[in-house]
């Protein structure tokens, strides 16, 4: 595996004697999208603020491309593009003027590069309008454009799906996947809603009360051995239910045109074969990846802000 793009080493933050972040240890690798998931107040923004040097680190360190954000700020931060909390820009300037402003702060960003990022996030049309008139979705995109100006190897987006409609979320997902897969960027995306980031992440770390309680690969959740709810859409649910109950000794539920049963991954082909052999028409098979969702809901249920 390649060297980590970012390393968190025993990262802690105490504010007024109150531990907010209680020791985070994890790595983020080039080309992966890391979901940073946790309920409101869990400490996602605080962690991100420490990653980019906005907040002092009480204990531990953050290494970016091997450089410490504490002791080697300039060398570390130049690899990072970020949005922290809301994508706030100067409302009285146009989108382009905002980008030019940030471009001036880093040597070597050409006019072409500015146009490139504008095109990448699809803001060509409103780019010469004042940002004060942008919708939240447009500001989110401008925020991403701003973060990408200097071709960072790490992109940090704090709740980028907040306030976006499903099509906006889909679009953000597309940029993020492209960046990770084509440009080998390490992307960190925080969210308090699993459903909004699940599909864009390779790995998800769950944070609660300032501690990481689980890090899961999104693909892992379909383990061979794990039981998942399998939804099968059929033309005749009654016959399907009977057939499967007889053959597999499983409890089968019905829901509208679906039958639902609990099965391991390697059982699914046999189930389908058995249905086909009875001449039942199958319109769809859907595996609900319950484990992560359940784990998350379980956690979110008793997150207390101490």
């Amino acid at each position: 595996m390649s060297n980590p793009a970012m390393q968190l080493i025993g990262l802690k933050k105490t504010i007024r004697n109150k531990p907010i972040i209680k020791g985070l240890d994890f790595n983020i690798y080039p080309g992966e999208v890391f979901g940073f998931l946790g309920p409101n107040g869990a400490g996602k923004t605080t962690t991100i603020r420490m990653m980019v040097g906005l907040m002092k680190i009480t204990e531990g360190d953050v290494l970016i491309e091997g450089k410490s954000i504490k002791t080697d700020f300039k060398e570390a931060i130049k690899h990072v593009g970020a949005i922290v909390e809301n994508p706030e820009m100067y409302p009285f300037m146009t989108g382009r003027k905002n980008l030019e402003h940030y471009a001036r702060m880093i040597p070597g960003i050409s006019k072409e590069r500015i146009n490139e990022v504008i095109a990448l996030v699809g803001l060509e049309k409103p780019i010469n309008e004042k940002v004060g008139r942008y919708s939240l979705g447009m500001r989110q995109r401008l925020g991403i454009a701003q973060a990408l100006l200097h071709k960072p190897s790490i992109l940090i987006l704090d709740e980028p799906t907040n306030g976006l409609d499903p099509s906006g979320i889909r679009e953000i997902r597309r940029y993020i996947r492209d960046l990770a897969e084509q440009e080998n960027v390490a992307v960190i995306v925080s969210s308090h809603l699993l459903s909004e980031i699940e599909l864009m992440c390779d790995r998800i770390g769950i944070i609660k009360n300032g501690e990481i309680i689980a890090i899961n690969s999104v693909n892992d959740t379909m383990e061979q051995t794990e039981l998942n709810d399998v939804y099968i859409e059929l033309d005749n649910v009654q016959i399907g239910k009977q057939q499967l109950e007889q053959q597999f000794d499983k409890e089968v539920r019905m829901e509208k045109d679906n039958i639902i049963l609990s099965a391991k991954k390697d059982e699914i082909p046999q189930i389908i074969k058995s249905l086909v052999s009875e001449n039942i028409n199958i319109y769809g098979v859907y595996v609900k990846r319950s484990s992560l969702e359940d784990k998350f809901l379980e956690l979110i249920g008793d997150n207390t802000i101490e």
């Binding site: 605080t46 906005l54 909390e85 820009m89 009285f92 402003h101 001036r104 702060m105």
Partner: protein, 323 residues
């Protein structure tokens, strides 16, 4: 270095893209123009031009004044009573020292507009109070501080930007005042020697050009101190309203406070006892006995360093957190 210039450029762009900044320039221009119009059209005798036979003209004028003063009923001519002895005295100074009275011109108007430096101070305080606090208010501070530029550099670029702004306003005031003056009063040439009423009531001839520079210079000392103070307050409290309020209140109330406590020895260490360096010139007495220009300059430097150090600490050492 070029990086630093880019930062200053950013600050200037953000300043001038907002209408409020242009309103400041407009107000300054308006005051300078109105002032000239008032001087031009409300003639109190100061616009009198004298020819080659100015000695006779002055003597004639003196005679007239003396006559008027004798004739005048005490309650009827209060205005000329107040004015005439002064005019008499000035005329006598010209005659005794054999200096031809100069007409009122652009240079003189520029000199008299020194008081407008207070307006520049006011505007600079407003800008200084907002230049950091606004970034916090807008939330843009986060994007500003996650670039490969140290916080110290960003702080310095903002501070320099304030000084550049003040200097721009000053140049603007000078150009507008002089131009309006030139249009309404004409120009008498640069080597103008003027006779000016001193603070102690006597008249004296001065080199107007030099005096103008000195007068504006003293005002700039006050400006820099107050702007730096406002900058510090806004950096510490991250709120522009408080910084503007406090700085302007102290600018106007400061002298009163000094007067109020002037019997105490420590009063001379108060910032406002020292910000007006012109107190040591023109034959006037300093605010508190025993103070000298050198003393004031040292006190000002100490304050200045404290203000900058406090701003530096507040900006570079503290967390940028929400709320």
């Amino acid at each position: 270095m070029s990086n630093f210039i880019q930062l200053v450029k950013n600050e200037q762009i953000k300043l001038y893209v907002r209408k409020a900044t242009w309103v400041m320039f407009a107000i300054l221009a308006l005051i300078a123009i109105l002032g000239a119009v008032i001087v031009r059209f409300i003639d109190d005798g100061s616009l009198q031009e004298y020819g080659d036979d100015w000695r006779e003209e002055l003597q004639e004028e003196n005679q007239q004044i003396t006559q008027q003063m004798e004739e005048a009923n005490s309650d009827e001519m209060e205005f000329s009573e107040a004015m005439n002895p002064a005019t008499l005295e000035r005329n006598n100074y010209h005659l005794e020292n054999d200096i031809k009275p100069q007409g009122y011109d652009a240079w003189k108007y520029l000199y008299e507009n020194t008081f407008l430096a207070s307006v520049i101070s006011l505007f600079t305080i407003i800008v200084a109070a907002g230049i950091i606090a606004n970034e916090f208010k807008w939330g843009t501070i986060k994007l500003l501080l996650i670039r490969p530029a140290s916080r110290l550099k960003i702080l310095a670029s903002k501070y320099i930007s304030i000084l550049v702004f003040a200097l721009t306003l000053l140049l603007f005031l000078i150009v507008v005042s002089w131009t309006v003056g030139a249009i309404l009063f004409g120009v008498d040439g640069l080597s103008s020697n003027a006779v000016i009423l001193q603070l102690d009531g006597t008249y004296e001839q001065i080199d107007l050009f030099k005096e103008t520079i000195i007068a504006y210079g003293f005002k700039m000392v006050n400006l820099v101190m107050m702007a730096t103070f406002a900058f510090m307050i806004s950096t510490i409290f991250r709120s522009s309203g408080m910084a503007i309020g406090l700085a302007i209140f102290l600018m106007f109330a400061g002298n009163g406070v000094v007067l109020f406590v002037s019997q105490y020895d420590w009063a001379k260490y108060i910032l406002f006892a020292n910000t007006d360096l012109s107190q040591y010139t023109g034959g006037s007495e300093p605010a508190i006995e025993g103070m000298t220009m050198a003393f004031s300059i040292i006190v000002l430097l100490v304050y200045y360093c404290i203000f900058l150090a406090a701003s530096w600490w507040a900006f570079t050492k503290r967390d940028v957190a929400g709320q």
